[in-house]
């Protein structure tokens, strides 16, 4: 019986969609527009999250040492770093190593550095942070502690901008949900209107079926399925538009920012999110269909 119900509802819904394909196309495009906005915001925030996550994993302190640091101070600093939970690993960079890096990274200025009577670059310890344990508060406190440690000239911590970026990603996601939510509400109403038009077109059929003693699920089912199919189609259209747009935007970024941006980080929505978007579209359509189906009693 459930199989019969399913095939009947699907069959009737497909026929009805085909019969009024003009208004259905309008409804599908409305859903697609709503999901395109939501999907666009999700795409940007997902990529920002990816970047933040990757850059967070690579985040590090640079602890610059005073030239006159004593052996005892060096040992106690190493002990402090070795025992702290946010520290994943550390690497000592001597004054000579720092000079070598400078010459490699800035070859035009390398000659100037060689002309100086002595190497002005300080030795440092590069501290790589543990991505899971290094929350903002713990890292801030540790940075302050290191700043006060004897033998330390300065602590450079490059994490704050990452947190700002993460905040922007969260903000974008919320903006997407809010704007998408409004558009989705409009899409639900559009689907409901289109399905009600279909119901009016099939009014005689529904009346006859009621006289035959058709169960209410068989009268309402095709209407809900109509909405569901419209929603699914709308979501697929949104994804079909979003994918090439994301490729074009990526190419534009490549031209504008070049090597400064790691393009390997930029990608399309993860498969799970894409599937959720389609299911979400179907849920939106289903809601619209259900609103219309309530008129069948």
């Amino acid at each position: 019986m459930a199989m019969h119900w399913f095939t009947y509802c699907l069959d009737e819904a497909v026929r009805s969609l085909w019969r009024q394909r003009g208004s259905v196309a309008f409804s599908v495009l409305t859903i697609a527009a709503a999901l395109l906005v939501l999907g666009g915001f999700l795409l940007v925030s997902v990529n920002l999250d990816r970047a933040v996550s990757k850059w967070s994993a690579a985040a590090e302190f640079s602890v610059y040492l005073r030239d006159d640091i004593s052996q005892d101070q060096r040992v106690s600093l190493n002990t402090l770093l070795a025992g702290h939970p946010v520290v994943a690993s550390r690497e000592y960079v001597s004054k000579a190593d720092a000079a070598q890096r400078f010459k490699r990274d800035f070859p035009d200025l390398a000659a100037g550095l060689g002309d100086l009577p002595q190497n002005p670059l300080p030795a440092s310890i590069e501290v790589r942070l543990h991505p899971r344990r290094a929350d903002a508060a713990a890292v801030e406190a540790f940075a302050r502690e290191l700043q006060q440690a004897p033998g330390v000239a300065d602590v450079r911590f490059d994490r704050r901008w990452l947190e700002r970026l993460a905040g922007i990603a969260t903000g974008l996601r919320w903006a997407g949900w809010m704007l998408g939510g409004v558009l989705i509400a409009a899409a639900v109403l559009t689907v409901a209107t289109v399905v009600r038009l279909a119901l009016h077109a099939r009014r005689d059929e529904v009346d006859i079926m009621q006289l035959m003693g058709a169960p209410i699920s068989l009268l309402r089912g095709p209407l809900v399925f109509e909405g569901l199919l419209q929603g699914g189609l709308g979501a697929l259209v949104a994804l079909a538009v979003l994918y090439p747009v994301s490729l074009i935007v990526r190419q534009q970024f490549a031209a504008a920012l070049g090597p400064a941006l790691d393009l390997a980080l930029v990608g399309f929505l993860p498969p799970g999110v894409s599937v959720l978007l389609v299911l979400g579209g179907m849920a939106v359509g289903c809601a619209g269909g259900f609103v219309a189906a309530r008129h069948v009693r």
Binding site: R19, E205, I208, M209, Q210, M212, G213, A214, L218
Partner: protein, 218 residues
């Protein structure tokens, strides 16, 4: 089979469509329901179809008090009925086969059962060669025969017909009425609302006459 007991139906501000109607129709009977326009014929049929409930009194069909049926029970009850209307009420976008096959389909019959039963009924009514036609491609008489096929396909115990010959010429009307007589001969109870006295005289069955909502002749 059918028993109405002191049935009244009031619409709006005290307008009686039916007033104190009590009648019994036995199983297997063929009964005409007649009277002038506005006499209450269609109202009585709507009560029997359980599209409405009486304002007073009770309507019992095959032991069921229709006013007491839940929505689900009303659906089950309607599956035991066949109905035929003056305007045929066929679905224009479906073929003859699909219009008639809709009933077993809606009631959950398998595809093979649907086709077998639908074809049997269409063949009995001489419509097998019109199976793939659409209603608007058929004559009035053919359309009404399709409507009768749809009413019969579920093997109902009671057929209700509201002015089934109202849109047909006299020859076709007689043909349709003979069909109802054949259906009745197979044991199905038939109640036909009509104001065609010639037809009633020709068929010669019991007649219930309504006038201004009252039963004036049984």
């Amino acid at each position: 089979m059918i028993e109405t007991s002191h049935v009244s139906k009031v619409y709006g501000r005290g307008i009686y469509a039916l007033r104190d109607v009590s009648v019994v129709i036995e199983k297997g009977e063929f009964v005409f329901l007649t009277g002038p326009s506005g006499a209450g014929k269609s109202t009585l049929l709507r009560l029997l179809l359980r599209q409405e409930t009486p304002s007073e009194g009770s309507v019992t069909v095959a032991g069921r008090d229709l006013a007491r049926l839940s929505l689900r029970q009303a659906q089950t009850y309607r599956r035991t009925l066949g109905f035929v209307f003056q305007d045929f009420k066929l679905i224009p976008s479906k073929t003859v086969l699909d219009n008639v096959g809709l009933v077993p389909r809606v009631l959950g019959a398998t595809s093979v059962q649907q086709q077998r039963r639908t074809f049997q009924v269409l063949k009995w009514l001489g419509l097998q060669h019109r199976m793939n036609a659409y209603p608007l491609e058929l004559s009035g008489g053919e359309q009404q025969r399709v409507a009768i096929a749809r009413a019969l396909v579920n093997e109902p115990s009671l057929i209700l017909a509201d002015e089934p010959t109202g849109n047909l010429d006299p020859d076709l009307s007689l043909e349709i009425m003979n069909l109802f007589r054949d259906i009745n001969a197979r044991g199905t109870t038939v109640l036909v609302a009509t104001h065609d006295r010639e037809l009633m005289r020709h068929v010669g069955r019991r007649t219930l006459t309504l006038d201004h909502g009252r039963l004036v002749d049984t």
